[in-house]
Subunit: 215 residues, 2 copies
């Protein structure tokens, strides 16, 4: 039975879709229009009580939080397709470390830039320059640490592609392709090479082609 | 060789210490005085480039981000002490889901309450009531969802104690015991019973006894 992915157009869902494609897991999508507030519908809240996307249904099993869903499929189909968790417990530890860094250091300023640059563009309102400048400064600090890290290993968790890299795809794509901030990536040699590598994977290209971003 | 835990007095480090005690893993602690800025010392930044606590050293292996360290030891010593990851891949998925909920839904308002109630108390300055009210409102929403969840299972991920529960200990302890907000827990029957259960584990009592909070 195919995995049902709710809300495939949203950034967080794209993390999950990349994993499903990398693992050659059959899936179908269920659109959730967040601009119409469908993520707050009572039926949706039965699946995801916090009212955010994505959520998956796999037979009777329901799971939410994109980084949890990624881990679940990477573990369940560990030997199918590319291994996304590292080969040893120590490598898995580093995958977890960089997943947490993505969630706590990279994501907040990247998300704030998205909200304060892309949403005002779409709505035709004046963006809050102070928030944009503060978010960019935070992101610069994070990316400087990434540059140092990626001068020593090809990917974040080591010399192997993993969930930690995948988790960065949706918001780095916004930074590079939608908000005129590509210099943040391009002016850092190792970050730029890493981005070229991960963003050219067929799985990511397929996700971008199939599921247009709502912003 | 004992695991070295840097910054044992800080809230995030306490998550790690509980896991080490539950798993009967030998450890030693290395104090990091964040009030003196020791987490920004060049030597410390070599271990943890983002300048936050905790970090562990285990022989040649260094790992940071408390939730990543918890997962590493829960996996490495899976059969030693209590299993903290669930028995099946599906249970592990739910542990991951609730760890993510803790990180993204529970932690931000709980952290903001801590910063805006406890720090002003210590510094003798007037707290920002607006931030406190907004954070409390967010936390109420989260705890209402927890109440529903905990009416169906004894612990967050199911009828088994896991990392997802442990991850809530440090900041729920602040809420209940340090900031006069214990009603948030006590007035919810199932959340209150869950808190009584997990906060009475010998591992948590030992951590509280050994490592005083800096705030």
């Amino acid at each position: 039975m195919a995995v049902k992915v709710y809300g495939p157009s949203c950034a967080a869902a794209k993390r999950v879709l990349v994993v499903l494609i990398e693992k050659a897991i059959e899936f179908e999508v269920v659109p959730v229009d967040v601009f119409k507030g469908e993520h707050k519908d009572p039926e949706y809240l039965k699946l995801q009580p916090f009212g955010v996307v994505p959520v998956i249904k796999d037979g009777d099993y329901t799971l939410y939080e994109s980084r949890a869903i990624m881990r679940y499929y990477a573990e369940k189909y560990r030997s199918q397709g590319i291994d996304l968790l590292g080969k040893t417990i120590e490598e898995r530890g580093l995958v977890e470390q960089w997943l947490e860094v993505e969630a706590h250091n990279f994501h907040p300023p990247a998300y704030d830039l998205t909200i304060h640059i892309l949403v005002p563009q779409l709505a035709g309102i004046t963006p809050d320059q102070k928030v944009i400048e503060e978010s960019e400064a935070k992101l610069v600090n994070v990316l400087n640490i990434y540059e140092e890290r990626l001068s020593k290993s090809k990917y974040l968790a080591g010399d192997f592609f993993s969930l930690a890299d995948i988790s960065h795809l949706p918001f780095t794509d916004y930074i590079v392709n939608n908000m005129g901030k590509e210099h943040l990536i391009k002016e850092r040699k190792h970050v730029s090479a890493w981005w070229d590598d991960i963003s050219n994977r067929p799985s990511w290209k397929k996700v971008l082609e199939l599921y247009k971003a709502p912003v």
